[in-house]
């Protein structure tokens, strides 16, 4: 697939982000005016050394963290300065997160974990009314990621690859427009990691799911449409990836 430059409004973009972390008297300037854009259906990987601020950029994009300076825009509108409840809603409806360490809730079964975002979205009464539909939705998604036989298990009983697929299922149940992936293969062996990458690419192809992926692995990064390099808090250059 050749990359064509589309003059379309980016779905999500971050502009001139500065972020400093303070531990005691120690100030660390993690992002120094970095920016990133993604259009709908793009699969971007953000690569850099540890400490380069790539995870922070992802968090800022997904409103998990607020930038000290800069803006985050969704569909052209600013979203980083919205109220807390508005941001919660966006995180629930627009963004989906997956992490290096999966982060499934240990007390819940796989099925319940996948349903969790919807449990959060709806009030108790609304959830109760739709519980069958929601359950079915969860089952469907778990089938899509190939985990139908494990839905009653607890996270402690699942393998790394299964956990990450479960996390993807959880991220997808809300039908997000943007999937933010923080080192999704970081904790997996090469083979399982590749399985995950195949899944991500498939999702991106089939449903035009926009994916912004952070990784430190070049071979993983290369599988995206476009690579963005971060070095010491700043964008190095935009590289147009090879044909995938």
């Amino acid at each position: 697939m050749t990359q064509t430059l589309k003059m379309t409004t980016p779905l999500i973009s971050a502009k001139a982000i500065q972020k400093t972390y303070t531990t005691g008297s120690h100030h660390v300037r993690v992002l120094r005016g970095a920016g990133i854009t993604a259009t709908e259906g793009e699969f971007i990987s953000v690569i850099g050394q540890s400490g380069s601020g790539k995870s922070t950029m992802l968090h800022v994009l997904g409103l998990l963290d607020a930038p000290d300076v800069g803006e985050v825009l969704y569909e052209g509108k600013r979203i980083d300065n919205l109220s807390e409840s508005a941001r919660d809603q966006l995180r629930n409806r627009v963004f989906g997160f997956i992490f290096q360490f999966y982060h499934l809730l240990p007390e819940l079964s796989l099925l319940e974990n996948v349903m969790a975002p919807l449990m959060i979205r709806y009030s108790l009464l609304d959830y109760w009314k739709q519980r069958r539909a929601i359950k079915q939705q969860a089952r469907d998604i778990l089938e899509e990621v190939g985990l139908s036989h494990r839905i009653k298990h607890r996270p402690s009983e699942l393998s790394g690859g299964e956990l990450q697929r479960g996390a993807i299922a959880r991220a997808l149940i809300t039908r997000p427009r943007i999937l933010l992936a923080d080192e999704p293969t970081g904790n997996l062996d090469a083979e399982t990691g590749q399985e995950i990458m195949e899944l991500l690419k498939k999702l991106n192809d089939d449903s035009k799911l926009t994916i912004v992926m952070v990784t430190h692995d070049e071979s993983v990064a290369a599988q995206a449409h476009r690579i963005v390099r971060l070095k010491e808090g700043q964008i190095e250059k935009a590289v147009i990836a090879n044909a995938i």
């Binding site: 968090h59 998990l64 919660d88 809730l105 007390e107 959830y127």
Partner: protein, 548 residues
Amino acid sequence: MYKLLLCVRYLRTRYIALASITSVMLGVATMIVVNSVLAGFTNEMRDRIHGFLADVLLESRHTEGIVEGSEETLRRVEAAIGKHVAAMTPTVEIPGMAQITYGSETYPMPISLVGIRPETKAKVGPLRNYLANHQPREVDGQTLPPLKSADAPVDWELTDEALERRRDLKQMQRDLLEQQQMLQPEVRFSDTTGEVGASDISDIPQFDDEQGDVIADAETEADTNSGIQGLLNQPPVFLPDAPEETERDFGAPLDARVYIGEGLVSYMATDPDTGEQHRVMMAEPGDDITITTVRLGKTGKPETVSFNATIVDIFRSGMSEYDGQLVLMNLEELQRKRGMLHFDPEGNIINDSITSVQIKLHDYANAEEVVKALQASFPPSAVHAGTWEDKQNVLLSAVEMETAILNVLLFLIITVAGFGILAIFFMIVVEKTRDIGILKSLGASSKGVMSIFLSYGLALGLVGSIAGVVIGLLFVRYINEIEDGLSWLTGREVFDRDIYYFDTIPTHVSPMMVFWVAVGAMAIAVLASVLPARRASRLHPVRALRFD
């Protein structure tokens, strides 16, 4: 829904939280048991005092009685508050001394002497329940029916057993007298008009007639004077018994009749072999005692007056203050001895003085109104009207305050449990830091996260409270069995029946009390979870996710 689900899962998986449930549970159970036992004791005490005092009391401020006399007084009471009155009874209450002779010793004791009319007194309070003749008896471990049947009236008649005992004693004394007369014919032994239920003749006081001076037993005189010393310059007066006229009267009881408190005529002895305690009676129905009290003399100055009375029954209320001090006497005789009867020239009684009227109301809720009406009908300088609670105010207030303080202290126990919850929750929040980050990344609000932990606290409080209520109520229900078990375990009696006068530990469970204890415990649990819950809600999602 996620909050509910997580809350339930946390409850089920975190056993350390059981520790905080246990502390809440114990605190609640303790409060329930202690409050129930305290209420039981207090209620028993109140009932007994109340039973003895009736609802409302009209009392004269001085010992010579309400000046209007009993008929006029009762009429006025009826007029003022008649519609509220279920029953009323007149009494004369006066301090005095009683003297019994046991073995070769005489026992003078201070008493509260109350003249009553048993027919009406029994309507105003549970008099029948306190009199030994009307209650079942324990003899050698067996329970026998009462000496007087259930429909026999409460009066001043001796039981057949008492009459027999009296006759036997008199016969013995008569025989002894005859013997001594035979052996020492030159000494004049006068008839025994003042015997006090014993066999030793030398202690019987010798007296002249009514108006004369007293040749009293030195011991008796010193004691009666010492009891009411300082007021009296008059020589004590002894009123001799009516002489026995015919042989038919032999062994007949004296005119003055009394119910005497059990504590005055008995003591507890320990069997040296078995270590068991049993009650030894020093005087019984049929025996005579000497009573000394005060009256206004003919010269207008107070003087002591002594007379003998026959014991008709033993009074046992369960309160040592009463049982150790009370002597109830037939009202008319007491009035007669104290000069409170007024006669017309033919010798008929036209008026009699009383010192108080005890009134039982249909509905105690009207007590305030009744007291006010009574106060309006009698001069406050001479007559005082009040409820039984007014009269016993000091004691009742003290008990109330004790209960309040005890509750505060017990509630502190639950508060301590609350701090335990606080500590454990902080721990759990720290443990769940990453999960909280996950939830926030999924879009959960800070308020939502906070309410997970608040409802967790509430759930713990709820479980702990309910468990505590169940355990507390069970403990109260089986408290006597538990006490038996404890006594067996420790080898000594935990609940000493002789000190406490109860056969079973009295308890009284108030539903309101249980409710408030449970609610209070839950409130503490929720309060304790507020700080940790807030901390959880304020966690920064990214930092939380990176935690560990």
